[in-house]
């Protein structure tokens, strides 16, 4: 027995020291969960099929334009959004080969059919391309969200993909969560398109919008009350001439005359050239600046604009303009996001929860410790030491895994305290039984530990299975609970079976004990 103690005691010391070192100082080492320090937990879904839709719409308009550039007479180019099929309807079969050559450049499309002797060409988006656009949309959305959060300068955010198309965003303790939630939700698709001046919006509404155009609105707000006063409709050509992708900067500025905020845009060299060309080619026509499907302004182009500068004005508040600038700088989301889950906890509630949790832990602990000391006397001291060690191991493990302590996590700790005692109770009751049937202290201890061991393993493994399932299934706070439960079970097996045993052995090795204080 002496021999075994020679390595057991240093090992126990090492474990105590190691876990204490991991856990101390508590304030620094243990992360508090969102429910304890206040914060925001968001689950956003990327509407990835919208990214496919955007890309197909773009492609359709591009094809129309490219065919026109090759002097191919086109009746219509029709997109079916559900099947992702583009049909090119030609006027004359002479153009069939020419059109096919142009369409060869669109490698994402696959030729499916040629109907009516080559007058109708059918192209479909390739499956792998479809998948690629969707996957890419998720990755891009992740990147954009990360950028936006970086620009705002939030500390300790968690941003990760959940499942196939959901993004989890968590950040602790912010003053104004709504502002950030708004910022994250904004798609920020900035597009420059021409106004279709062949028809007035009113006429378009009654007679139908011309092929290749759509009706969009500008919302006008009252300058002082910030309430929407009216909506101005525009007929806008669908073809996108320039997007926010080519921006290098977007900043909030103030109008000198009215002190109204606007967002100034700076394009990169390619964007600047495109902008110059499009303004050069469309002098005296109206250019619409469209953001997320809403017209912000539609000025008339007076002269070609070089230098790559533009601005978005509209009736913004400073806050909106600032958010828009951030969103544009961080890049547009490839597809809109839907908010699936939003849990926001204020810092004061978090503080209350911490206090309540800590006081219940302390009271619960004290009650258990007193009870065990009264009940088992000196052996109770062994159990209490094991319990304390259990707690240290639990906290140290939480720190090591970087797991956050949540309110259910605190409950998990308390529950562990209750159950950790169980292993000791099992052993002690067994020892008492053995003493009762007349065994000596030494053999009673040996038999007690040996017999209780199997029970402890079986009982704990089943609880462990439940905790593991909980961990797999759980989100947020529940995960915290499952982690504390798992660690607590493992720790309690170690402390009861190993540490308590070593402590008893240590006592026994000192002197011959006739009566055990149990």
């Amino acid at each position: 027995m002496h021999k075994e103690l020679r390595w057991k005691i240093p090992l126990i010391m090492f474990v105590i020291a190691g876990f204490s070192w991991l856990a101390w100082p508590l304030e620094e080492k243990i992360n508090l969960g969102l429910d304890l320090q206040g914060g925001v937990h968001l689950v956003l879904e990327v509407e990835a099929e919208k990214a496919v839709e955007f890309s197909m719409e773009q492609r359709t308009e591009d094809i129309k334009h490219a065919l026109g550039a090759e002097d191919i007479e086109v009746d219509r180019v029709v997109l079916n959004k559900d099947t992702n099929v583009i049909r090119v309807l030609l006027v004359d079969v002479i153009d069939t080969t020419g059109a096919e050559t142009v369409l060869k450049n669109y490698t994402a499309l696959e030729k499916k059919d040629a109907l009516r002797g080559g007058l109708e060409l059918v192209y479909q988006l390739r499956d792998e391309e479809y998948q690629y656009i969707q996957d890419n949309a998720i990755q891009q959305a992740l990147e954009v969200i990360r950028n936006r959060i970086d620009i705002v300068g939030l500390s300790e955010p968690t941003i990760q993909v959940q499942g196939t198309r959901r993004i989890l965003v968590q950040f602790p303790g912010v003053k104004n969560p709504k502002k950030i939630i708004d910022l994250l939700g904004q798609t920020a698709r900035l597009e420059f398109k021409m106004v279709d001046e062949s028809i007035s919006p009113e006429a378009a509404r009654t007679q139908g919008v011309p092929e290749g155009s759509e009706l969009l609105e500008e919302r006008v707000f009252d300058k002082t009350t910030k309430k929407e006063i009216k909506k101005i409709p525009y007929v806008i050509k669908k073809r996108v001439l320039l997007t926010g992708d080519m921006l290098t900067a977007a900043d909030i500025r103030y109008d000198q005359d009215f002190n109204e905020p606007y967002v100034s845009l700076t394009f990169n060299s390619l964007g600047a050239r495109t902008f110059f060309e499009l303004t050069r080619d469309n002098v005296d026509k109206r250019l619409a600046i469209v953001l997320d499907g809403r017209v912000y302004s539609a000025p008339v182009i007076r002269e070609p604009i070089s230098g790559g500068q533009a601005q978005i004005s509209g009736s913004f508040t400073s806050e909106e303009a600032k958010n828009l600038a951030i969103a544009l700088r961080a890049g547009a989301l490839p597809a809109p996001l839907t908010m699936l889950e939003n849990r926001t906890v204020g810092p004061s509630l978090g503080r209350d929860s911490v206090n309540a949790g800590i006081s219940s832990i302390i009271i619960g602990m004290v009650a258990v410790v007193l009870f065990i000391l009264i009940y088992y006397r000196l052996s109770g001291v062994v159990a209490v030491c094991a319990l304390l060690l259990n707690l240290v191991m639990l906290l140290g493990s939480l720190a090591y895994f970087g797991a956050s302590l949540t309110l259910p996590g605190i409950a998990g700790i308390i529950l562990t305290v209750g159950m950790a005692i169980d292993a000791n109770v099992l052993i002690f009751e067994r020892i008492r039984e053995e003493i009762r049937v007349g065994k000596t202290v030494r053999t009673a201890i040996d038999a007690g530990f040996a017999k209780a061991f199997r029970t402890i393993v079986d009982a704990n493994v089943t609880t462990f299975i439940a905790a593991i399932v909980l961990f797999q299934f759980g989100t947020g706070p529940i995960k915290g609970f499952a982690i504390t439960l798992c660690i607590g079970i493992a720790a309690s097996m170690f402390t009861a079976v190993f540490v308590s045993r070593a402590t008893f052995d240590l006592f026994m090795s000192r002197k011959k004990i006739e009566r055990l204080s149990i």
Binding site: G185, T338, V368, D458, T463
Partner: protein, 305 residues
């Protein structure tokens, strides 16, 4: 000190009829309550919806809040005190995008129309209906997986009938706790599912300690009938069962009374679960074992009876 001075010889098996009646009545009461409430009452986690917790500088009149919400077209909302009279929990069934700013909107409306000042938005939770459905499925599956895992483990360590008995005891505990939730009109949330899984773990823990002793005793006392072996085993583990339940109850009570409003229902579930779990490992699980044995070996039963 000893809770139970010497080896007890309670005839637990003799009381099993009474115990069965009590259990069946409790479960039926729970089921009746669930049926009367039109199913379990799900929280926003499983149903979708929006929850706003507001702290007022002084206790507000619930009616004035209700009238403001009505003006905002949130007729389907429920309003309740949460922990203290100055803290109000508002729940709206819908969870569309517009409701994302519900916290600040309600706050603004209350301040504007009823002249409240200093309202603090303590918590806003919005769960989309799609997520709610997902979570409900996941919660159900997780309980199922836990049960399957445990059946496999117990059948491996013991025998199949032990596993079945343990599961019956566990379902018994879960059903009674569910019934208690329904009777008191408490909501099922994610955290409550966590509590249920804990109850499952705890109930099994308790049951297995008894089973372990039964297994040990059946080997040593092969001449006695299973009924007697089980009775002795329960008696032998009785002081441990009561002690562990006692210490666990101590901490759960601390959690229940001091843990704060947010985990109040969670600790309530644990409280019921621990008490029922202790009871079921003494009466329910073992009774099933005897019943199984009497079906498998009718002769042995006749001898013992």
């Amino acid at each position: 000190m000893e809770l139970i001075k010497k080896q007890t010889h309670f005839d637990f098996m003799g009381k099993f009829k009474a115990a069965l009646i009590v259990s069946v009545l409790l479960i039926l009461a729970g089921i009746a309550s669930i049926a009367m409430h039109g199913g379990l009452k799900f929280g926003i986690d499983f149903e979708g919806g929006t929850l706003v917790q507001l702290k007022f500088s002084e206790a507000p009149a619930i009616d004035s809040i209700r009238s403001v919400l009505k003006e905002m077209n949130f007729e389907d909302s429920t309003i309740q005190e949460f922990g203290s009279p100055d803290t109000i929990l508002i729940r709206v069934e819908r969870s569309d995008g517009e409701l994302q700013e519900m916290g600040s909107k309600i706050k603004a409306a209350l301040e504007e129309k009823k002249g409240f000042t200093g309202i603090l938005i303590e918590r806003v939770e919005m769960v989309g209906p799609k997520v709610g459905k997902d979570l409900r499925m996941k919660a159900l599956l997780s309980i199922l997986y836990a049960i399957i895992g445990i059946v496999i483990y117990i059948s491996w360590r013991f025998e199949l009938q032990y596993a079945i008995a343990a599961i019956i005891a566990l379902l018994h505990d879960v059903l009674i706790t569910m019934g208690a939730f329904s009777l008191l009109d408490k909501e099922f949330t994610l955290v409550i599912v966590a509590a249920f899984l804990t109850i499952i773990g705890y109930s099994l823990n308790d049951t297995i300690v008894v089973f372990d002793r039964i297994r040990e005793n059946t080997r040593r006392r092969s001449k006695e009938s299973l009924r007697d072996v089980i009775n002795t085993s329960i008696n032998q583990t009785l002081s441990r069962t009561l002690l562990t339940s006692g210490t666990t109850l101590l901490v759960v009570l601390a959690l229940f009374f001091l843990g704060g409003e947010i985990i109040h229902d969670f600790s309530f579930a644990l409280l019921v679960g621990v008490v029922v779990g202790t009871y079921s490992s003494i009466f329910i699980a073992s009774v099933f074992l005897v019943y199984w044995e009497s079906r498998a070996h009718p002769k042995k039963r006749a001898k013992s009876a």
